[in-house]
């Protein structure tokens, strides 16, 4: 069946055309490609397609079911929004990397086996990092490198798990792994790196703020959500994840609170939001899994919107820190408005998208009577509102006036934000649109009275807390330590170790060897003289002088002898010596023969 093509392939292959197009055609193409992919999605039939033989295995590029379709839709939509937002960027490389990145994320979603999943997984890591590097400053280069290495680590863990699984079971099929065993733990570890589950999260908050303005929008959408997708498939009902997720939700919020960089704050918020999803996966009920899917869907839309808003600020103001920003609402009201749609969505304000999805997970925890989880998730929810909807806009758009003359961003950016905002509100108002594509049938009703009231309570009282304590939320120009401290400091210590002790140790045998070789070369220049030099030195040391010579004259003689080495190589061997040698040998032979017989 060739009537459809794996959407990931469409994007990836399509990306290769970019360098050949110019100007308007290129821009049109950039927007058209996600649209084509979207159309392609509609032609995809449930079931397994696109099995490709590779190295004796069957790679399944098209495993289609409701779950993968749900992620597929939002990924393609986000690719479109992101590309629209990035339309003004001149560098082909950025677009190329973005499409590769989005395409590989789609590839992961539709992979039916671990090998093809891994293939796309790695493409995602290696293309994503370029979106960071294109910032072209030192911070982004270093952060990108760290991002890459962490992802390579995660990918390797995944690969190890896959290989062990293959050897043990003989199968590469991508299915549930929630049964334990070394292979599944390794795979879980790999997935958790991408999902930024603490303590494997630091790459995210480290790298996303350094990404390009447009790149961060893409990054915020795909990596963690593909991880959520694969966890959903392979580890749903894996209980430990509930606790990881709940802790993660709070952790993200807590760390976000310490941040001075607006995008770093949002990055930690991603961790927090993904925490909900991880917890939902761990619960493994139909409601929670639906909730995870829905939340991933909306999260991509509103987090994209938030990053676009923050990006717009950075793009026009040139600053990215609370301590440097403030009072921008006058010149950037549109941006503020669109940003606030995202902020309200993430805060799960009723009639915004976050409300319809997040509440599913929180409710699921209630259904399962997981009180501590509910408390943690709700705490995180309050914190999220505090941070994203209150603190960030307050210090960026209001607060003290920084005096920055910023204006609204380019129209493509605004359009992208507008589209995202529209979708957020649409989903918030008509949740059925979203609920219809969830993997399981949905009988969940978000808009009940109690639900709305409770949510409003939390939000309002959080706001109260904020206004009471907002001075305490003033940022300092500082960075927060995180797990990355271990490898940032550790790598330096490690490199020191490699460069100094290890290299020295490795050089040692070579050096000894070379010294011996040098000595032999020296000796070889005139062995007989060398031997006599050693002998006379020994005599001098023993006697303090040469026989029949005063000490200082002996010393001088010896010194000169050493200095003149090698001198002329031996020219003559005195005949007398040879004759004596002959006689000695003769005697030795004769006596020896006699003794032996």
């Amino acid at each position: 069946m060739i009537d459809w093509v794996p959407p990931g392939i469409v994007l990836i292959a399509g990306a290769f055309l970019i360098p050949f197009l110019k100007g308007r055609a290129k821009r049109a193409y950039l927007l058209l490609l996600p649209v084509i992919t979207f159309i392609d999605l509609f032609f995809m039939a449930d079931g397994t397609g696109w099995a490709v033989p590779f190295m004796g295995y069957n790679l399944v590029f098209g495993q289609v079911d409701r779950l993968s379709m749900a992620f597929g839709y939002v990924f393609v939509i986000m690719a479109f929004i992101g590309m629209l937002y990035a339309l003004h960027v001149k560098e082909d490389g950025q677009h190329f990397a973005a499409f590769l990145y989005a395409g590989s994320a789609l590839g992961v979603v539709f992979s039916g086996d671990f090998l093809s999943l891994f293939v796309f997984w790695e493409i995602m890591a290696f293309s994503g990092v370029f979106l960071i590097w294109y910032s072209r400053d030192k911070a982004s280069r270093d952060a990108g490198m760290r991002y890459l290495l962490v992802h390579v680590f995660g990918g390797l863990s995944l690969l190890a798990g896959i290989v062990i699984r293959l050897v043990n079971t003989g199968s590469l099929e991508f299915g549930s792994l929630a049964h334990g065993g070394l292979d599944s733990y390794l795979i879980l570890l790999g997935f958790m790196v991408n999902a930024a589950v603490p303590p494997l999260h630091a790459w995210l908050s480290d790298a996303y703020p350094e990404a390009t303005i447009t790149g961060a929008v893409f990054l915020s959408a795909f990596t963690t959500k593909t991880a959520v997708y694969v966890l959903l498939r392979a580890f749903s009902g894996f209980e430990i994840l509930i606790w990881f997720g709940a802790a993660m939700a709070v952790f993200g919020v807590a760390y976000a609170l310490l941040q001075n960089d607006i995008r770093r704050l949002l990055a930690y918020e991603i961790i927090s939001q993904v925490g909900y999803m991880i917890a939902g996966i761990g619960m493994g009920t139909m409601l929670s899994l639906n909730g995870v899917t829905a939340h991933a869907f909306t999260h991509i839309l509103y987090k994209g919107l938030l990053f676009m808003g923050a990006g717009a600020v950075i793009y026009t103001a040139g600053k990215r820190k609370f301590t440097e920003l403030g009072g921008l609402y006058r010149t950037m009201p549109l941006t503020l408005g669109l940003y606030m749609v995202g902020a309200l969505s993430i805060s799960a304000v009723p009639f915004f998208s976050g409300f319809v999805s997040k509440s599913m997970i929180v409710s699921a925890s209630a259904h399962e009577h997981l009180a501590p989880v509910w408390l943690l998730l709700t705490l995180a929810s309050a914190g999220t509102f505090l941070l994203v909807a209150l603190r960030l806009p307050y210090f960026t758009f209001f607060g003290k006036d920084s005096g920055i003359k910023a204006k609204e961003p380019p129209v493509n950016m605004l359009l992208a934000m507008g589209f995202a905002a529209f979708l957020n509100i649409l989903i918030g108002v008509y949740p059925a649109i979203l609920y219809n594509i969830l993997p399981f049938p949905v009988d969940y009703v978000p808009y009940t009275g109690e639900h709305i009231v409770w949510t409003v309570q939390i939000l309002l009282f959080t706001a109260l807390g904020f206004f009471l304590m907002r001075d305490k939320l003033m940022s300092q120009p500082a960075i927060s330590l995180d797990i990355d401290w271990i490898y940032r400091k550790g790598s330096r210590a490690f490199m020191w170790f490699v460069e100094k002790p290890l290299s020295a140790a490795a050089q040692l045998p070579v050096r000894i060897f070379l010294r011996i070789a040098d000595y032999l070369m020296w000796l070889g220049k005139n062995p007989t003289r060398a031997v006599s030099l050693y002998a006379s030195t020994a005599i001098f040391r023993l006697l303090g002088r040469f026989p029949g010579m005063p000490p200082h004259a002996s010393e001088k003689l010896l010194e000169n002898a050493w200095k003149n080495y090698p001198g002329e190589p031996v020219k003559k061997s005195p005949v007398g010596d040879s004759v004596i040698l002959v006689l000695i040998l003769m005697a030795v032979y004769a006596i020896y023969y006699y003794i032996v017989t």
């Binding site: 070889g524 031996v570 040879s578 004759v579 040698l581 002959v582 003769m586 023969y593």
Partner: protein, 489 residues
């Protein structure tokens, strides 16, 4: 006629030497072709003898028709014939090379030179061909005297070198003579075959032991076995290059031939291997010689002197192979006689060629020589690689067998010495390669300036044979193994 070939090879030489002055008086330039002609004849005869031995078995020729114990017997087996071909071949080839080389290095002395040259050649052939131990001594003296004189005509220091050689040579000759004398006193015969029959009854008598010691030491001096090699470097360095080439390729080898002949056919292998540890001691001395010779060669910067020390080392190989006295090692040793001759003659001829063109002897001054004399230096490279033991050269084949023999003897020290010393060899030859081929490109264009064809041709032929025999080493090995199996248990 054919049955007289064993004596003819000597007679041709003696007559040739006799007539050389006469021809020289007619025309000086004719001396060289004459010498070439005589050596060519000897070469052809030796080839024929080899063929005959291989085809029809050993040859025994009674000089003047006298029956052996009383008369002199020329006894030729495979070993003789093999060494004969080698010696005669080298003498012939070098004689062609010598025309220009000697003419350049010692102009105007053709007349005595070629007379001595033929005498030396004949003396050596005589040593090889004879079956009578006293006769062997006589030819040894003929050859030695000729060699002393030939060396003496070299550069300014050659007289001294020749004098040293003469003293050492004379001591050696006296020892050999004394040894032969003791044997004669004990057995009453000088014929080798006869001796080997009568000696076993006398084994264990101290006199035999003394005779053995005298012969070993005497022949060690002749073969320049370390540490009795002291005459050799000076002699080879200061002799005219053609003479160095010839001596390096033949005279020490003939000494080794004599050693093999005396130890393994006159005295029986069992005796020198098991009863008295002659071979055991010799092998350790030889092993020391391999290393010492190489180290000393590394110390040299005069190319001929370096080659001379290299000879000391290589002789160590041969004697080590012979004295390990198992079939493989012996084969290797005898094969190395051949390979060392080929390589060393070639190398000395190249040294002579360089001196002929540039007068340079210091190896560090050879810069650009690779462009100036490409063919000569290419031959040098082949010879040197063969010395190092890089396949596919004949040097590799003999080292292979030597090391194999050491392995067979399960003597790990010898295995290590044989194999690792090739690295030392590499050290002293690589210095030359580096200087000859590298490090000159920034200087002005160097013109090609080859030696005359009469010099180049022998050089190239030796290089070619080194390579070809390396590729087809089975041929000589087959011949040698045939002999070795007959001798060794």
């Amino acid at each position: 006629m054919i049955e007289h070939f064993p004596v003819l090879i000597i007679a041709v030489g003696l007559l040739g030497a006799f007539f050389t002055p006469i021809i020289g008086l007619i025309r000086k330039e004719l001396c060289s072709p004459w010498a070439s002609l005589i050596t060519l004849l000897q070469f052809l005869i030796s080839i024929f003898l080899l063929y005959q031995v291989l085809a029809a078995g050993n040859i025994s020729y009674w000089l003047g028709g006298w029956q052996p114990p009383w008369g002199i017997e020329y006894a030729i087996d495979i070993l003789n014939a093999f060494v004969l071909v080698l010696v005669a071949g080298v003498c012939f080839s070098v004689s062609i090379y010598a025309k220009k080389s000697l003419g350049f290095e010692v102009p105007g002395k053709e007349l005595p030179l070629y007379t001595l040259y033929i005498l030396l050649s004949t003396g050596m052939l005589g040593i090889v061909v004879t079956g009578d131990i006293f006769n062997l001594y006589v030819f040894l003296e003929i050859g030695s005297l000729a060699a002393y004189a030939l060396i003496a005509v070299g550069d300014r220091q050659s007289l001294m070198a020749s004098f040293n050689y003469m003293i050492m040579g004379t001591i050696s000759a006296s020892f050999i003579l004394l040894g032969i004398g003791y044997l004669y006193v004990m057995t009453g015969t000088l014929n080798m075959a006869d001796l080997s029959e009568r000696l076993p009854e006398l084994y264990g008598r101290p006199v035999i032991l003394v005779a053995l010691a005298l012969l070993v030491v005497g022949l060690s001096i002749k073969t320049a076995l370390f540490p009795l090699h002291t005459w050799l470097p000076d002699a080879y360095t200061h002799a005219p290059s053609a003479v160095s080439a010839m001596l390096a390729g033949t005279f020490t080898k003939v000494g080794i031939y004599a050693l093999i002949r005396v130890m393994f056919t006159v005295i029986s292998p069992e005796y020198v291997i098991e009863t008295v540890p002659v071979m055991n001691i010799l092998s350790w001395v030889a092993a020391a010689g391999i290393v010492a010779g190489s180290v000393l060669a590394i110390a040299q910067y005069d190319i001929k002197r370096m080659l001379a020390y290299s000879s000391v080392s290589q002789i160590g190989y041969i004697i080590l192979g012979v004295s390990m006295a198992n079939k493989l090692a012996m084969t290797g040793g005898i094969l190395h006689i051949l390979s060392h001759s080929l390589m060393k003659v070639g190398l000395f001829m190249v040294a002579g060629a360089i001196i002929y063109r540039t007068g340079i002897r210091n190896i560090y001054q050879l810069k650009g020589m690779g462009k100036k004399m490409p063919f000569t230096m290419a031959a040098f490279v082949i010879g040197a690689l063969s010395m190092i033991g890089i396949p596919p050269t004949i040097g590799f084949a003999s080292k292979f067998y030597l090391a194999w023999g050491a392995l067979e003897a399960e003597n790990w020290v010898f295995v290590a010495v044989i194999l690792l010393s090739s690295l030392l060899t590499a050290v002293y030859f690589w210095r030359i390669f580096e200087n000859v081929y590298f490090g000159v490109h920034e200087h002005e264009e160097i013109k090609k300036d080859e030696v005359p064809l009469s010099m180049l041709l022998p050089i190239l032929i030796f290089a070619a044979i080194t390579l070809l025999l390396g590729l087809f080493a089975s041929l000589p090995i087959g011949v040698i193994e045939h002999w070795v199996t007959g001798v060794l248990p």
